[in-house]
C-alpha cells in the first residue's frame, strides 16, 4: 500500500479475481438465456405462446412505438424469470426482523397475487438499517409522534417561500455540529440535490454564460469508476468535462491530476478553472471504503476540491459514527463538500450537504430544491434530530455509542465467518456492506429464493447494476442484528 504512513490503522481491502472457469460458465449461462429469449420472442410473434405484456391502445396503434423492441428484450426474457427477488412487499418495521407479504405467481412472474398470508420474522439483511434506528417504539418514535400531532405530516410550500420551519433551522445547526463543518443544509430527497450541487459548483459563471459559452467547459470533474448513477448523471448534466480514474487507485488519480494541470483544457490549452474530485465514502456495490487520507493528500498538493458522498458511510463508520472522515481520524475541514443521506443510518428520509459557510449560503440562494421543491416533513425532521442526538450521546445515554460499536463488531464477525466458510467476499474488512459473489445468472434467482425459504431476506443484484459476470448478493449489516441472527445466516 503506497503512502501507508498516512493510515492510522490497517486498511485491508480485497477483491479476489474471478476464477477463469466461473467466468466462462457465466458467459455460457447468459448465452443460453439469450438464445431462449430469442426463441420465445419468436414463438410469441407467431402466437404459439401467449403474449403477456400489456399492449398499446387500439386507437394508438399507428403512433410511433413507445418502447424499442430491443430495450425490452432484457426485461421480458431475463428479468421476468427472477422478478420475484425484487420489490418484495413488507408489512412491518424494516428492522432486524421483518414481516413479508406472501405472494405467488401462477404464470411465471408476469403477475403476482397476494395470498393474504404474512410470513413473519424474516431476518432482514437487505434494508439499509445500519444503526438499527428503524424501530417502532423508543425515544425517536415518541418524539416524532409528538411533532406529527403538532405540525401535521406535510408542509405545502418550498424553503424559500413559506416552508422554512423552525425545525429545519434546528436540524441544520445540529447537522453542522455533528459533522464538524461550518454550516449545513438539509433537503427532502437524497438523489436530486446531487445534480443540483454539482451543477452549481461548476457552473457558477452564469453571468458570462451568454457571452462566453466556452467557460462552462472550464471545469474538470474526476470521478471514481464505480460512482453511483445519480452522481454520474449530475456530473454529466453540469456540462463540465468528466474524467474517470480507476476505482480507489491513487496512482491513476494522481496521473490525471498532473496531466490536467500541466496540459490544461484539451483544445484551448487554457488552464482549468476548478478541479473537483468525486468519491463516495462506501461504495454500495463493492463494499469498499475510499482511501481518504491519500485523496486528501493529493487534493492539497494539487489544490483541487473534494466532494465526498457519504450516503452509506455516515453513521456506519468511525468510532463515534461520524462517517469515513472519523474512521480515518481526519479533519472534516479538509473535505470541501460533504454530502450524505438520512435514509440509511438515521432511519428517516432526505439528505444534507455540509461545508463552508459561503458554499451553503450559495446553495440556500441558488439550489433547485430550495426554490422549487417542498421542504422536509416535520416528523421526519424530528426523527433525524433525535437519532443524531442519540449517536452524539447528547440525550444522556450511551445507546448511540453502543450501537456504533455493535455494528463494528457485527461487521468483523460476519465477514470473518463468511471467509472461513469459503465464500468470495469483496470489499474492506470494516465495511458493513458485504457483497458475496455469485457470478452465474441462474444462481441469482436460486439464492434469493432459497434464502427466503429459510426465512432470511437478502438482496441480489445483477446486470445492469454490476458488470455482467459479477452478479452478487449483498448483505447490509445492522447494529440491531444479534449474534444468533448472524449465525443463522
Amino acid at each position: 500500500v503506497h503512502n501507508g504512513g498516512l493510515y492510522k490503522r490497517p486498511f485491508n481491502e480485497a477483491f479476489e479475481e474471478t476464477p477463469m472457469l466461473v467466468a466462462v460458465l457465466t458467459y455460457v449461462g447468459y448465452g443460453v438465456l439469450t438464445l431462449f429469449g430469442y426463441l420465445r420472442d419468436f414463438m410469441r410473434q407467431w402466437k404459439i405462446e401467449k403474449c403477456q405484456n400489456a399492449t398499446e391502445r387500439e386507437e394508438q396503434k399507428d403512433f410511433v412505438p413507445l418502447y424499442q423492441d430491443f430495450e425490452n428484450f432484457y426485461n421480458r426474457n431475463l428479468y421476468m424469470r427472477i422478478r420475484d427477488s425484487w420489490n418484495r412487499p413488507i408489512c412491518s418495521v424494516p428492522g432486524a426482523k421483518v414481516d413479508m407479504m406472501e405472494r405467488v405467481s401462477h404464470d411465471y412472474n408476469w403477475t403476482f397475487t397476494y395470498t393474504g398470508r404474512v410470513i413473519k420474522d424474516i431476518i432482514n439483511m437487505g434494508s439499509y438499517n445500519y444503526l438499527g434506528f428503524a424501530q417502532k417504539a423508543g425515544t425517536c418514535q415518541e418524539a416524532a409522534a409528538k411533532v406529527l400531532s403538532q405540525y401535521g405530516a406535510g408542509v405545502c410550500s418550498t424553503r424559500q417561500e413559506m416552508g422554512n420551519l423552525d425545525k429545519h433551522e434546528e436540524l441544520e445547526k445540529l447537522v453542522a455540529r455533528f459533522l464538524g463543518v461550518e454550516s449545513a443544509m438539509a433537503y427532502g430527497m437524497g438523489g436530486s440535490e446531487l445534480k443540483g450541487i454539482i451543477r452549481l459548483a461548476v457552473k457558477h459563471n452564469l453571468l458570462n454564460i451568454f457571452l462566453f459559452p466556452l467557460l462552462i467547459q472550464g471545469c474538470l470533474i474526476l470521478s471514481d469508476e464505480l460512482n453511483h448513477a445519480s452522481l454520474v448523471l449530475g456530473a454529466r448534466l453540469s456540462g463540465a468535462t468528466i474524467r474517470i480514474f480507476k476505482h480507489n487507485n491513487m496512482q491513476s488519480l494522481e496521473k490525471l491530476l498532473k496531466d490536467a494541470i500541466v496540459h490544461g483544457q484539451p483544445r484551448t490549452r487554457r488552464p482549468w478553472k476548478k478541479i473537483l474530485i468525486l468519491v463516495e465514502g462506501i461504495y454500495s456495490m463493492e463494499g469498499s471504503i475510499v482511501r481518504l487520507p491519500e485523496v486528501i493528500a493529493l487534493k492539497k498538493k494539487y489544490k483541487s476540491y473534494l466532494y465526498l458522498d457519504e450516503a452509506h458511510s455516515i453513521g456506519a463508520l468511525g468510532p463515534s459514527g461520524r462517517g469515513v472522515v472519523d474512521y480515518f481520524g481526519l479533519s472534516p475541514e479538509d473535505v470541501d463538500v460533504m454530502m450524505g443521506t438520512f435514509t440509511k443510518s438515521f432511519g428517516a428520509a432526505g439528505g444534507y450537504i455540509g461545508g463552508k459557510k459561503e458554499l451553503i449560503d450559495y446553495l440556500r440562494t441558488y439550489s433547485h430544491s430550495a426554490v422549487y421543491a417542498t421542504s422536509l416533513s416535520p416528523p421526519v425532521v424530528e426523527q433525524i434530530i433525535t437519532s443524531m442526538k442519540c449517536i452524539m450521546g447528547e440525550d444522556g445515554t450511551a445507546v448511540g455509542k453502543a450501537r456504533v460499536q455493535q455494528l463494528a463488531e457485527n461487521t468483523r464477525y460476519f465477514r470473518r465467518r463468511l471467509k472461513e466458510m469459503g465464500f468470495i467476499i469483496y470489499g474492506n474488512e470494516d465495511s458493513p456492506v458485504v457483497p458475496l459473489m455469485l457470478y452465474m445468472p441462474a444462481k441469482i434467482g436460486a439464492f434469493g429464493r432459497e434464502m427466503l425459504k429459510r426465512n432470511i431476506g437478502v438482496v441480489v443484484v445483477g446486470f445492469p447494476a454490476t458488470p455482467i459476470i459479477e452478479s452478487r448478493a449483498r448483505f447490509c449489516l445492522s447494529a440491531a442484528h444479534t449474534r444468533e441472527m448472524l449465525d443463522t445466516v
Partner: protein
C-alpha cells in the same frame, strides 16, 4: 519535469462557490414557528396563511394526523431502502391502488419526492433524438426532466394552439423528407393542467384533437389541478369531461391538495409499468416514509367522502378574484377558479431587482397587518422563460369570507401606500 512542477505550483483554482451578498432577498428565509396551517406564525407574527398550497385544508386535519400516527406506531419513520430492496410496504401498494381507482386509470406509481416525479417520468420515455413540444410557461421540474432526457425541445407560446399546430406542421414536413427516421422518433406534448407560473389552464380538448391528427402523445402535469378542478377533484380531465385514457400519462405531486409529500404518475399499465425499472427517481431513491403514505390515503378518503369541498373552494376563488380586481398598481393573473393566483405589477419599473424590492414592501406591509403572503420564487438564471416578479396568493378552503375580504382590502391599502 521541472517545468511541470512549476506549473503545478503556480496554478490557482477559482473559489468553489462565489460569495452571496448578505442582503440577497433569497438568502434570508422567513422562519415559521409551529405548523404552517391556516393561522401561521411567521417571524414571530401571527397571520392568516395565504401562502402555503394547502388547498383543501388537510394539513391540520385530525383524521389525517391520526392515520399517520397509527402508521408511525406500526412502521417507524423511514423505510431504509429503495422500492426494489425491501422498501415496498403494503401502504405503498394500497396508496397506488387507491390513486389508480380514484383517477379511474389502470395503474399508478408513487415517487417519494414531488419535484422528482415529473423530472424522472419524462426521461424514462423520451430519449435523445425524440421530440418534445412544451408550453413556455412549464414549471421548473418539467424543464429539468426535459434537460435530463436530452431530447429536442420545441417551445410553443403559452396556451397558443395555433403556434403549436404550426410547429407540428413543420415537423410533419421534416418527417416527409426522412421517413425512416420519422418512424422511430417519438413525439410528446408536455402541458400542465393548471399552470403554476401563470394560474391558467390548458385547452385540453383542442390538444386531444391535435394529438390524434399529428400522432403525438400527451403528458399532463396536474400538480395544481389534482384535487381542485373537476366535480370530484379528479383534475382537468374531469373538468373538461375527457376520457382519461386519451391522456398517456398524468403526473401530479401530493404536496398541494393531499397535504403529504411525494408524487405519483397514473395511466395505463402499458405506460406506467415501464417506470418501475427505468424511472430514476423510483429505482435509486428510498421509498416514501409510510406515515406520509398513510396520510395521503386518509386524505384521499376525505376527498372521496366530501365532494362538495371542491365547489366551496372554487366559490372562494371567484370571490377573491373579484375582490382583487380594483387594486391600483397590481394586476391579477390567473383564472377566476384557480386557487393559486399571481399579483404582478401593472407597470414594471424596468429593472427586475427594483420590482422585487417594491413587491417585498407590499408583502411586508401585509405581513405586519396579519396576512401572510410570499413572492413567487424562481431561479432567475436557470428558467427558460422567466415569469415577471409577482406575489403569490393562495386560496384554501379554510379561509372565511371575512378573511378573504380583509386580505383584499389590505392589499389595496398596501398597493396604494407603496406604489403611489
Amino acid at each position: 519535469v521541472q517545468e511541470k512542477e512549476e506549473l503545478i505550483e503556480e496554478w490557482q483554482p477559482e473559489p468553489l462557490a462565489p460569495p452571496v451578498p448578505k442582503d440577497h432577498p433569497a438568502l434570508n428565509y422567513n422562519i415559521v414557528t409551529g405548523p404552517p396551517t391556516h393561522i401561521i406564525t411567521v417571524n414571530g407574527k401571527e397571520c392568516v396563511n395565504f401562502a402555503s398550497f394547502n388547498f383543501l385544508g388537510l394539513l391540520d386535519n385530525e383524521k389525517v394526523k391520526s392515520a399517520a400516527q397509527a402508521s408511525l406506531k406500526k412502521y417507524g419513520v423511514g423505510t431504509c431502502g429503495p422500492r426494489g430492496f425491501y422498501g415496498t410496504f403494503d401502504v405503498h401498494l394500497e396508496l397506488e391502488e387507491r390513486l389508480a381507482k380514484f383517477m379511474r386509470t389502470e395503474e399508478a406509481i408513487i415517487y417519494s419526492y414531488g419535484f422528482a416525479t415529473i423530472a424522472s417520468a419524462i426521461p424514462a420515455y423520451s430519449k435523445r433524438g425524440d421530440i418534445v413540444f412544451v408550453d413556455e410557461a412549464a414549471c421548473f421540474a418539467i424543464q429539468k426532466g426535459l434537460q435530463a432526457s436530452r431530447s429536442n425541445i420545441k417551445l410553443f407560446k403559452h396556451n397558443d394552439m395555433a403556434d403549436l399546430e404550426q410547429l407540428l406542421k413543420e415537423q410533419e414536413t421534416e418527417d416527409q423528407k426522412n421517413p425512416r427516421k420519422a418512424r422511430v422518433t417519438r413525439r410528446f406534448i408536455v402541458v400542465e393542467g393548471l399552470y403554476m407560473n401563470t394560474g391558467d389552464i390548458c385547452p385540453l380538448p383542442e390538444l386531444i384533437k391535435l394529438k390524434y391528427k399529428y400522432k403525438v402523445r400527451i403528458f399532463l402535469e396536474e400538480s395544481l389541478s389534482f384535487g381542485v378542478l373537476g366535480e370530484h377533484g379528479r383534475g382537468i380531465t374531469e373538468h373538461f369531461g375527457i376520457n382519461i385514457d386519451d391522456i398517456d400519462l398524468i403526473s401530479a405531486n401530493m404536496e398541494n391538495s393531499l397535504a403529504s409529500i411525494g408524487g405519483f404518475c397514473c395511466g395505463r399499465s402499458f405506460i406506467i409499468d415501464h417506470q418501475r425499472l427505468s424511472g430514476q427517481g423510483y429505482c435509486f431513491s428510498a421509498s416514501l416514509p409510510p406515515l406520509l403514505a398513510a396520510a395521503a390515503i386518509e386524505a384521499l378518503n376525505i376527498m372521496e367522502d366530501n365532494p362538495d369541498i371542491f365547489q366551496t373552494l372554487r366559490a372562494k376563488c371567484e370571490h377573491i378574484h373579484k375582490a382583487l380586481q380594483g387594486v391600483s398598481g397590481l394586476k391579477v393573473v390567473g383564472e377566476c377558479f384557480s386557487p393559486a393566483l399571481h399579483l404582478q405589477l401593472e407597470e414594471s419599473s424596468g429593472s427586475r431587482e427594483d420590482d422585487v424590492k417594491l413587491l417585498k414592501r407590499v408583502v411586508d406591509y401585509c405581513m405586519n397587518s396579519g396576512i401572510a403572503l410570499t413572492q413567487a420564487r424562481y431561479l432567475e438564471k436557470e428558467e427558460k422563460c422567466l415569469p415577471p416578479p409577482s406575489i403569490r396568493v393562495v386560496i384554501t378552503v379554510e379561509q372565511t369570507e371575512q378573511e378573504l375580504d380583509k386580505a383584499a382590502s389590505l392589499l389595496k391599502e398596501a398597493a396604494q401606500s407603496v406604489l403611489n
